[in-house]
Amino acid sequence: MPRIDQTHTETFILEFKSGNVTAFDQIFNQFYNPLCYFGNRILQDKFATEDLVQDIFVKLWHKNEDFNSLESIKSFLYVSVRNACLNYLEKAKVKTKHADYMMAQGQATEETILHSIIEAEILREIFDTVDTLPEQCRKVIRMTFEEGKKPKEIADELGITVSTVNNQKMRGLGLLKKRLSDDGLALGIALFFPEAIHHLLK
């Protein structure tokens, strides 16, 4: 699932502005889930949230020429989701007088909204970890743990030696280790790379 290359955001913006579909895919893949997480915090309704967020991406596509930076796209997305959620709650409250919506609206204070945005974005950045490993590292880790390939297969496919494969694997695991706290180590590694746990328990 392609993501935006953080080191070349200017290229990304140019492509996005010119209506490049891959650029749209990238921004969608990067922000859809965090935005749904955020919206659901407010609405407490996953189906309504997904519809709403999808509509905002439709709007985004139509406005693609208006954006000159990733920051401005991000801002547009979160502001739009927030507005759409609050409107939805207001309409739902009026239409159905359903207690759940009233409660959701009461809990959608400024603080809750801002904190939910912060959580969504932190999650996005932290759990993007795998995708921000150096490229060859990332490929080796993916192929080892996600595709279940053997070192020899990986070496052949990437055109490198088996010992390089092993080095990259250790390096990737080492980098992930550094980014997690004491308690998080076992939990985080096991959840990202369950087969890796025997490497780390050595």
């Binding site: 801002s75 912060i118 969504a120 932190i122 999650l123 997690l180 004491d182 096991a190 959840l191």
Partner: protein, 395 residues
């Protein structure tokens, strides 16, 4: 609330994420601490995100949305042609948190009938137990998430060096040059789901339970050693005739000279309880006081200074520090409050609050579902829903 508020939030999110990845510049660190110190709710958010269990729970939430399907749906709406790529089959397993925790042995001292599983997707939605998490706030407002800090020297406060010696422990070593320096206070805050141990500048050891905090000076001198506690702490005080050690908790002062005692000052518990294991302490509030000898416990109701003393099971009072829950004819709400702090969950009651009482000991290092299984029986059932435990009276 305007767009600027959201842009500020997006900025803080980036800074917080970089804090967790240890990629913050000094300027950003200062900006972060200023933001944390601005309000209680900012501090709470910070305490929330330094807890991996929370991040992982939220992450599960975030992953529950199907990105690929949504993207294709949107592109269909936009009339963008969809190219179908063949992906290699993913084998991406998420083991039960319990599988990792098989390292901890289960020792359950009372037998219960085991009903059917509490949660259908046991592997994905169970709640892991608490761990060594705490935030150390220095005198200048700097915050250190101790579970993210490396072992070794953390900071220097006046003439005192603070070292993290192991997961879950920090030690203050005061040099004699600390005397005469202006008094500086540090505070260690334990969020829900956390615990930590600090060795104070005089060698006194304090174990702090989940949802607690301790405020103390970085060097002890003058005519007393005074600390402020919220929540629960177990103290092993180093003897010093000239400098009595005093703990102030929710208006009550516990004074002793060289002793081991536990203070339970959670404000959501009905009374403030202090239990003495060794030595001698005086407990006082608003003019009233009582002296305890080992094996005794003082009980102080809220908004009152009427202190009563009784014999107590000291093992029960300090079980938490030894890694256990220990309940002695405890009602369900008391039990669930303990669980709520250690597992960092909210509790909801469906129907009547069950009138059952619980007695026994359970390891703390179990997943929530394992503890709840022990507590369930024909009349009470539990359900885990995200970060919430729902209690149902089946009668």
């Amino acid at each position: 609330m305007d767009e600027q508020g959201i842009n500020d939030a997006l900025r803080m999110a980036g800074i917080l994420a970089r804090y967790l990845k240890a990629e913050l510049s000094e300027e950003e660190e200062k900006e972060l601490f200023d933001w944390i110190n601005k309000s209680e709710s900012n501090f709470r958010l910070f305490a929330n995100i330094i807890n991996e269990q929370n991040l992982e729970a939220y992450h599960q939430d975030m992953r529950s949305f199907n990105t690929d399907a949504a993207r294709e749906k949107v592109k269909e709406k936009l009339g963008i042609p969809v190219i179908i790529k063949m992906q290699p089959k993913r084998r991406w397993y998420i083991p039960a948190a319990a599988a990792i925790l098989i390292l901890f042995s289960v020792s359950i001292l009372f037998y219960r009938q085991h009903p059917k599983p509490l949660i259908s997707a046991y592997h994905k939605t169970d709640i892991a137990p608490g761990g060594n998490k705490a935030i150390l706030t220095l005198a200048n407002g700097t915050h250190i998430a101790l579970n993210y800090a490396k072992n070794g020297k953390l900071a220097v406060q006046g003439g005192t060096v603070i070292n993290k010696t192991a997961n879950g422990q920090i030690i203050y070593s005061a040099a004699s040059s600390a005397l005469g320096a202006a008094v500086a206070y540090n505070k260690i805050t334990i969020p829900r789901g956390g615990q930590y141990m600090v060795v104070l500048p005089d060698g006194t050891k304090v174990w702090l339970n989940a949802a607690s905090s301790l405020k103390y000076p970085t060097a002890f001198y003058g005519n007393e050693r005074k600390v402020e506690l919220t929540g629960e702490g177990y103290f092993e005080v180093v003897h010093n005739n000239k400098l009595p050690f005093r703990v102030v908790a929710d208006g009550e002062t516990i004074e002793d000279i060289g002793t081991h005692f536990n203070v339970n000052a959670y404000t959501d518990e009905p009374v403030l309880t202090t239990t003495l294991l060794e030595g001698k302490i005086r407990v006082s509030k608003d003019g009233a006081s009582a002296v305890l000898v080992p094996g005794q416990q003082s009980i102080l109701p809220p908004n009152s200074n009427s202190i009563s003393v009784k014999e107590a099971d000291t093992e029960e009072a300090v079980a938490w520090k030894n890694g256990y829950f220990n309940f002695n004819h405890a009602d369900i709400k008391t039990v669930m409050r303990s669980l709520s702090r250690w597992y960092d969950v909210d509790i909801a009651y469906e129907g009547n609050v069950p009138g059952r009482h619980f007695t026994g000991e359970i390891h703390r290092n179990l997943n929530a579902s394992q503890v709840l299984e022990v507590l369930s029986d024909l009349n009470i059932s539990f359900r885990i829903d995200g970060k919430k435990i729902i209690v149902t009276d089946k009668k």
